[in-house]
């Protein structure tokens, strides 16, 4: 575990207000989901999951085919598709388009993919104003932070903190009533929508047979982003494909329920191409940016490529006992929780934060609630093994390797094992009511281990002794 990861975890654990906020928010999302999938409300919930998994598996296994079909159909409707290898290619594209069209203001709707590539910062670096318009995203943009949660980015912010941000950044009188704070943001962002030259959205789904971008949301900011400015750019990972519009019957039902317990979100937009000849409004130009940024690396692993089925509902975060304690900002990258724990090592390499796949109790809650049935615990185990192999190659776990070698040798020699056992029993610190809770400073690595866990005291007689005396 790196010091930074460790530090952030401890900061979160030491903040009782934050602990309560995370626990309440995720608890509520758990409850809303539970109600929305009850058998009398959604009798075919499990069947929908099975179908969603089968469709995603099929799509990912034939992704090249569906990418080409999608691009053909976008172009048939007058849109353009841009394939990008990495963050830089995306920002280069947006910047050159903005320059050609003399654009100055960009409105953005929530997109984890653009968070992944720090698009706002890249654009602002070139003096383009890029404003997040989802309320939660707007708040964390004002605070210069990363999203705390995939679907609730400002989950960790209290109304007082929001009041300070609005006053500090916008110069409005301090306001702590949440309804009024929301209306302040509405008024500011409404002006931005009407003045913006370009709208950038993400995509929840890309529909191959229609060349369509599908967006789900509750606020209406994604609709405004994609319809008010003259140019709409959707930025999406290449894994977002589904084959047919009719597959949405499965995915839309699962996404709303798993994320917030909604049967359908307030708005679902199905967008394909710029406005047609006889339509009154809508953008004049329509672009879809398809991003690799490490996804083809994930795709190359037969077992772990199922990580790309994810529809970003956030249910695994809400149900994860680890996320619920350590929160979103402890995680080393934009994707947090169990899905973050499997995506981060695959995108950034297992050595980026080697402690990450180990920060799980493997309780399996994530796999149980995943609407597309990603086997997250199994992938965590595979990643643990990869971390260990990498450490062995690099020789960073020498002490651990030595310890296991000694252990293996002792295990193969019964006499020595017995003597060692007796020695351990004689030397071990006596337990406090049957449990060893701490050891003297000199005990080194054992001390770190015991800072989080208790050990049972060594029994006065070993099993072998008792066996002989029976």
């Amino acid at each position: 575990m790196s010091t930074l990861f460790d530090e952030k975890i401890h900061d979160t654990l030491a903040d009782p207000k934050l602990q309560l906020a995370i626990y309440k928010a995720t608890g509520r999302l758990i409850e809303e989901r539970r109600k929305a999938i009850e058998p009398d409300i959604c009798p075919d919930y499990q069947e929908l999951r099975t179908q969603a998994n089968a469709v995603k598996r099929h799509t990912i296994e034939h992704l090249d085919y569906y990418l080409e079909e999608f691009a053909r159909n976008v172009e048939a409707h007058g849109g353009k598709v841009i394939f990008c290898r990495d963050a830089e290619e995306v920002s280069d594209f947006v910047l050159s388009l903005a320059k050609e069209r003399r654009a100055e203001l960009i409105v953005k709707s929530k997109s984890m993919t653009t968070e992944e590539i720090d698009l706002n910062e890249r654009l602002e670096h070139h003096h383009l104003e890029s404003v997040e318009t989802d309320l939660g995203e707007y708040i964390i943009q004002l605070a210069h932070e990363r999203p705390y949660h995939i679907v609730a980015p400002a989950l960790h912010k209290t109304r007082e903190q929001v009041a300070d941000l609005l006053t500090g950044k916008l110069g409005v009188p301090r306001e702590t009533v949440i309804e009024k704070q929301t209306m302040i943001a509405r008024a500011v962002l409404r002006e931005k929508f009407l003045a913006a030259d370009i709208g950038i959205s993400g995509a929840n789904f890309l529909v191959a047979d229609s060349g369509a971008v599908v967006l789900v949301e509750n606020e209406g900011n994604a609709r405004l982003t994609t319809s008010a400015p003259k140019i709409h750019i959707a930025v999406a990972g290449i894994e977002k494909l589904i084959p047919r519009a009719q597959d949405l019957a499965v995915f839309l039902k699962l996404l709303g329920r798993s994320a917030t317990g909604q049967w359908l979100t307030v708005y679902t937009s199905f967008l394909s191409g710029p406005r047609r000849k006889d339509e009154i409004d809508g953008p004049e130009e329509f672009y879809v940016v398809l991003l690799d940024n490490g996804r083809t690396k994930v795709l190359a692993d037969r077992e772990k490529r199922q990580s790309l089925y994810c529809i970003r509902c956030g249910a695994c975060l809400n149900h994860c006992p680890v996320y619920r304690k350590i929160g979103g900002h402890s995680f080393p990258w934009v994707y947090s929780g169990p899905i973050g724990a499997i995506l981060t090592p695959q995108f950034l390499g297992v050595r980026h934060e080697p402690g990450l796949p180990f920060a799980s109790s493997l309780c399996g809650a994530c796999a149980e609630v995943c609407p597309v049935k990603i086997d997250i615990p199994q992938i965590l185990l595979d990643l643990r093994s990869e971390v260990k192999k990498a450490e062995t190659r690099e020789g960073t776990n020498r002490l651990e390797r030595l310890a296991f070698r000694v252990w293996a040798w002792v295990m193969r020699h019964p006499r020595i094992y017995e003597v060692a056992g007796m020695a351990a029993a004689a030397l071990a610190p006596s337990g406090d009511g049957g449990w060893v809770r701490s050891v003297p400073v000199s005990a080194g690595p054992l001390r770190a281990w015991l800072s989080q866990r208790d050990l049972p005291s060594v029994a006065p007689k070993s099993f072998r002794q008792m066996w002989r005396e029976r």
């Binding site: 394939f83 609709r223 519009a245 394909s272």
Partner: protein, 210 residues
């Protein structure tokens, strides 16, 4: 730019070659129950009301007009070019602007109006959802910018749910650049999970079933 590079990487990762055919995808899963129209209307209204929307089952076009007039209450309104609104006489009400076909003019009008009024191409009974396809009759902004939104839905447009919609419209993109599903008023719960309606879209929604 990097189209071929990315596609090549995808194919390499999957062990596939250019133009290689695909296996049959899993069959589409659509379930369309048979539900009586009156039951559909009742379910549609219950769902919208559960989301704090208001509904009105109009006995006639006159009734629809009367109800709509009451909601507009003399405020500035923008109506779409949906034939149903003309049939009900809503477009002839004082203070109601309609027939706008210019993008910028319509946007400015919607930004200033208190009420937006549209028809609906379809409605989904099991979720209380309105379905609007962008066309010369329906614009995107009318159901989005004004703080109060009224939709007038013909009862024969009521489908059982999303599955039936996608059976009726298997490829929406062939007809329109934008199909939007609207399920209740605009809302957020981004600050302390407190529900606030009308954050960017309309916070008040009325659905008249004719």
């Amino acid at each position: 730019m990097s189209r071929e590079t990315v596609l090549h990487k995808v194919r390499t990762a999957l062990g596939r070659s250019v133009g290689q055919p695909i296996e049959e995808p899993p069959p589409v899963r659509l379930r369309i129950p048979e539900i009586d129209i009156e039951v559909r209307i009742a379910s549609f209204r219950t769902r919208i009301e559960a989301l704090a929307g208001k509904t009105h089952a109009a006995r006639s076009v006159e009734d629809a007009l009367e109800y709509t007039t009451g909601i507009i209450a003399g405020r500035i309104a923008v109506a779409s070019n949906a034939p149903i609104l003309r049939e009900c006489g809503i477009t002839a009400l004082p203070g109601v602007r309609t027939g706008v076909t210019d993008r910028d003019e319509l946007r400015a009008l919607c930004a200033a109006a208190a009420v937006g009024i549209t028809g609906a191409d379809y409605a989904l009974a099991d979720t209380g959802t309105l379905v609007l396809l962008s066309s010369r009759r329906e614009a995107r902004m009318i159901s989005l910018l004004p703080p109060v939104y009224i939709a007038v839905v013909k009862r024969e447009c009521l489908l059982t749910g999303l599955d039936e919609l996608l059976a009726v419209l298997p490829r929406p993109a062939e007809q329109t650049s934008s199909m939007v599903l609207i399920t209740g008023p605009s809302r957020t719960a981004d600050i302390e999970q407190i529900l606030v309606r009308g954050v960017h879209g309309p916070g008040e929604i009325h659905v008249v079933v004719v």
